[in-house]
Assembly symmetry: C2
Homo-oligomer: 567 residues x 2
């Protein structure tokens, strides 16, 4: 996966000179986690307090907190960069984790970072056009964010693979604080989005007894025309405002991508790598990969993508119209989603079936990046699971049996099935050794193979190399062992199939990300759940759970890209 070969010592076990005097790794981790939790909870309190109109927490409080956090994070990043540049490479960063910060993650960071910068320009323009009646912090905030995004993106692009070995506690705290800053920005952006969505929906829905989205709420006051004493009348101001809202999803994803990268860096602080990262020594280009597919997956995926875009535009245009057209738009939206989710479920399932015949060995090595990917896929799916279970209960227990209730029920069931089977497929794929990584059928050459990751004490307890190399393969008994490490060569029909499957799922996940990220909210247009739970309860459920669902789609895309490269 890594383009750069690790620069540190790759073969020898770590020499005592580089070994830090870290008595107890968990202690340092505990301190940084406690710091992060406290800062995050303070930010969470202010942001959620600010999102409720009855509470006397103002948007300027939230902006002031976030600006301070970003400035502190920038200072720490600059300190880190200075330190690692000044020290010789092997002292501060003796090892680099080849799995961390793959090229597409860094590419995504740069892409989303650029979109965030454009958003900041729009924000500055919007606030400047009504400078006389706004607080200074509202212009300071996007300015600071721009600096923060530039510095952080540069930092993550060059340092994502670092396994830092100096100032361990300080580095852990700094990384956790930067991570917390990103999560706080994410929370603020999600609250902003929810308030904006709810406001535009309530104006069309005609419901006035709402608590979550009154016009005076925090970020709404900052970004919407109905400010306290400002109005956005000019055409330029309107453009700035619209552009700002359409670029918001990219800012949200940027914060989450940065958070995952920072988390992996935090896990890698003080880590010792005994051998170079195995496997992915030669990474063929995306194009040469593409020639190995059957083209069926990408073509079908592209068709669904284009149809999905059309459905999304129809939905967005019609859902704001009168009731009959909304109904029609909803039916189209649900039918497209049901077809798409059904196909994705079948395809994921067939991918898992292919793995039952594919006897490639499982990769048992410790890999913080992969463990995080697993946890995030399963954890983020909870958001959509929760919404689906609430929909199911509403559709089953609700009294009026009509078309939309049936469609909503089918949609919810398929969402659960699709998330489950896709997660199983992706996680199994990430744990397979890539074809061609091991020579066919021969036992592994390096005796130390099983020791990519080793904690300090284990390394010093164990000898450098065991005298009798054994099979690394999963089945310890002789006869089965021989079977399980026979590998399909690259270009085998199974590999091709898996590439097709991952590309198809990738394209489908992108279109399913676009729809909610850019404002489709069938949850509220559809009366089934709103009538059953009441508007405020249902709005709370959707506003809390949907951001995780949106993140799931984006994260699945990056994981599927990795599956596609590995197959």
């Amino acid at each position: 996966m890594s383009e750069e070969l690790p620069t540190g010592p790759t073969e020898s076990p770590p020499a005592p000179r580089a070994a830090p005097r870290e008595v107890w790794k968990k202690g340092g981790r505990l301190l940084s986690v406690l710091l992060a939790l406290n800062v995050l909870l303070l930010a969470c309190t202010l942001i959620s307090g600010g999102a409720f109109n009855k509470v006397a927490v103002y948007d300027t409080d939230v902006f002031a907190l976030l600006t301070t956090m970003m400035l502190l994070a920038v200072l720490w990043i600059l300190f880190y960069l200075l330190r690692t540049v000044r020290c010789p490479d092997t002292d501060a960063v003796p090892y680099r984790d080849g799995h961390a910060g793959p090229i597409w993650l860094r590419g995504g960071l740069v892409l989303f970072g650029i979109c965030t910068l454009i958003m900041d320009v729009f924000k500055i323009g919007y606030y400047s056009s009504s400078f006389e009646c706004q607080s200074a912090i509202k212009i300071l905030y996007p300015l600071t964010q721009a600096v923060f995004v530039i510095v952080q993106t540069y930092f993550l692009c060059i340092s994502a693979k670092d396994c830092v070995h100096t100032h361990l506690d300080l580095t852990r705290c700094g990384l956790m604080f930067t991570l917390t800053t990103n999560l706080a920005i994410w929370m603020a952006a999600v609250a902003d989005e929810s308030v904006h969505q709810a406001h535009s929906l309530s104006s069309s829905h005609g419901n006035t007894s709402l608590q979550l989205h009154a016009p005076l709420s925090t970020v709404q006051r900052a970004g919407s025309p109905v400010g306290e004493d400002c109005s956005c009348d000019t055409a330029v101001c309107q453009i700035f405002q619209q552009g700002y809202y359409y670029l918001c999803p990219f800012n949200i994803e940027y914060s989450l991508f940065a958070s995952t990268t920072l988390y992996v860096m935090w896990k890698n602080v003080g880590r010792l790598l005994a051998s170079s990262t195995r496997g992915h020594s030669h990474t063929p280009s995306l194009l040469s990969h593409f020639r190995e597919t059957f083209f069926a997956g990408p073509i079908l995926g592209l068709m669904l993508f284009v149809v999905g875009l059309a459905v999304f535009i129809i939905y967005e245009v019609q859902a704001s119209g009168e009731r009959g057209r909304t109904q029609q738009a909803l039916v189209i939206y649900y039918i497209f989603n049901i077809v798409c989710l059904g196909l994705m479920t079948l395809v994921s399932l067939s991918g898992s079936v292919i793995y039952r015949f594919d006897r490639r060995a499982m990769d048992h090595h410790k890999n913080p990046t992969r463990s995080l990917d697993m946890a995030l896929l399963v954890g983020a799916a909870l958001g959509q699971y929760a919404i689906s279970y609430y929909s199911i209960v509403a559709a089953v227990a609700g009294t009026p049996r009509e078309l939309l209730a049936g469609l909503s029920l089918a949609h919810a069931l398929l969402v659960i099935a699709q998330h489950t089977f896709q997660n199983v497929f992706i996680i199994e794929s990430l744990h397979r050794t890539p074809p061609g990584a091991e020579p066919h059928g021969t036992p592994p050459k390096e005796p130390c193979h099983g020791l990519t990751f080793a904690s300090l004490d284990t390394l010093h307890t164990l000898p450098a190399c065991p005298p009798t190399p054994r099979l690394v393969g999963p089945s310890p008994a002789g006869p089965q062992g021989a079977v399980s490490i026979t590998l399909a060569p690259r270009g085998h029909w199974r590999c091709r199939c898996l590439k097709d499957i991952s590309l198809f799922l990738l394209l489908c996940n992108i279109i399913l990300w676009i729809m909610p990220a850019f404002g489709a909210r069938p949850h509220f247009s559809n009366a089934v759940e709103v009538d059953f739970y009441g508007y405020s309860l249902w709005a709370a459920i959707v506003n809390i759970c949907l951001p995780f669902g949106v993140f799931y789609r984006m994260h699945a895309v990056s994981s599927l890209l990795e599956v596609y490269m590995l197959s």
Copy 2:
């Protein structure tokens, strides 16, 4: 910690005959986690839907689901018991984890289980007294719960240490399903408590615009006098009802204790233990431990406990009275809590300072029980953290500066400090090797010491014993290494101090558990936060976060008992 010595092979590395053909452990875990998440979300949906009065989910739906889950769990447990009894011990359960299910956890399970059984008797009595107007499921539910508690307690007492090695996937799914059942029962009980509390508070508070606790909500209908068409007029019925509510906290703790034990069993499925559990070979009795304290800790703790009980009773009597007396009761309550939390913070801090001088080695071995304890302590503290941060924001940003706002602010700040320092102290204590576990200053005797836990592939990659034994101690370099493994002998003043500290904290945590568990809710009597956030938002925050805070206290008690035994 274990009274029983492991029965499996203790010295030899696992022989191939016992090694299961488990190709990929994470796959089996993933399946069981997905099953658990889906069942839990379904239960969560029904329970939370039932707690809202506007939603057409009835308590009978919730009871039916829970009864079905408990019956299925009982069937699985019986199947498991039959299987492990029929098979020879070494085949199904070749190893036993000495750290899992310590005696006080099993004792607590039995104690809380008995209280739950008494609660079920009260429940059955209560529902029987109004049998003609209740649904049959409401009597079936406590009956099933009684059977479930008896079977599960027996199962956990005899099987908590098992490392199962047959039917791995089935066992994982069964354990996860039983765990989910316990969590669902916990959620239902917490919702019941919250609804009951909120109902009794709103009747005294006179607030009518509440959503969370209308008289028609789920469990309220089941347990309160204002049922749909039943009334609880007779004295016997009233006694049953009161007794049922006072025993509810024990049922809540029982479910959580059972869940933690089941989680450790789940982590231990398929685990290979190479050597016997080290260290805790001789466990002196509680009494002989007690003689090693300075008596200052337990005496001061007992005094605080008694004063706390008195304060709690005064608060409970006066808080339901008129406004002036409520104010007085609140001031007394807050002052006691501030003094108690302040002392606890200082004592925890001094414990951590003692560890800075105590150069006992850290125990780096893998231990799922301890990892879970750490995660639960940090995770459950989040509940009180969140309430405290909301209180701080309300006290700082709220306009009226009066005595209660100041007390509330000081209380919230001390809660954060106390949780943080207590967690640091407990977690550091749990990671120290007990005094006397290693001979003073000599290098460890067993060369395989560092290999208590080993995954399948590592075991087969590594030789049985490294030819050159090295230091297990944390500092790999020679001179520091010699310093770090000098141990204080048992009975040293530092050990005595640590025992005093842990006993003092233990008693304080018990009184701080009793207060919220048995109904003290200063959060609502105090007007600071209610006025700032509005009743419904503040009720939602407290009702979601407080159960975690209550669980934190109980869990801290069990961890401190372990610290006391280990010091």
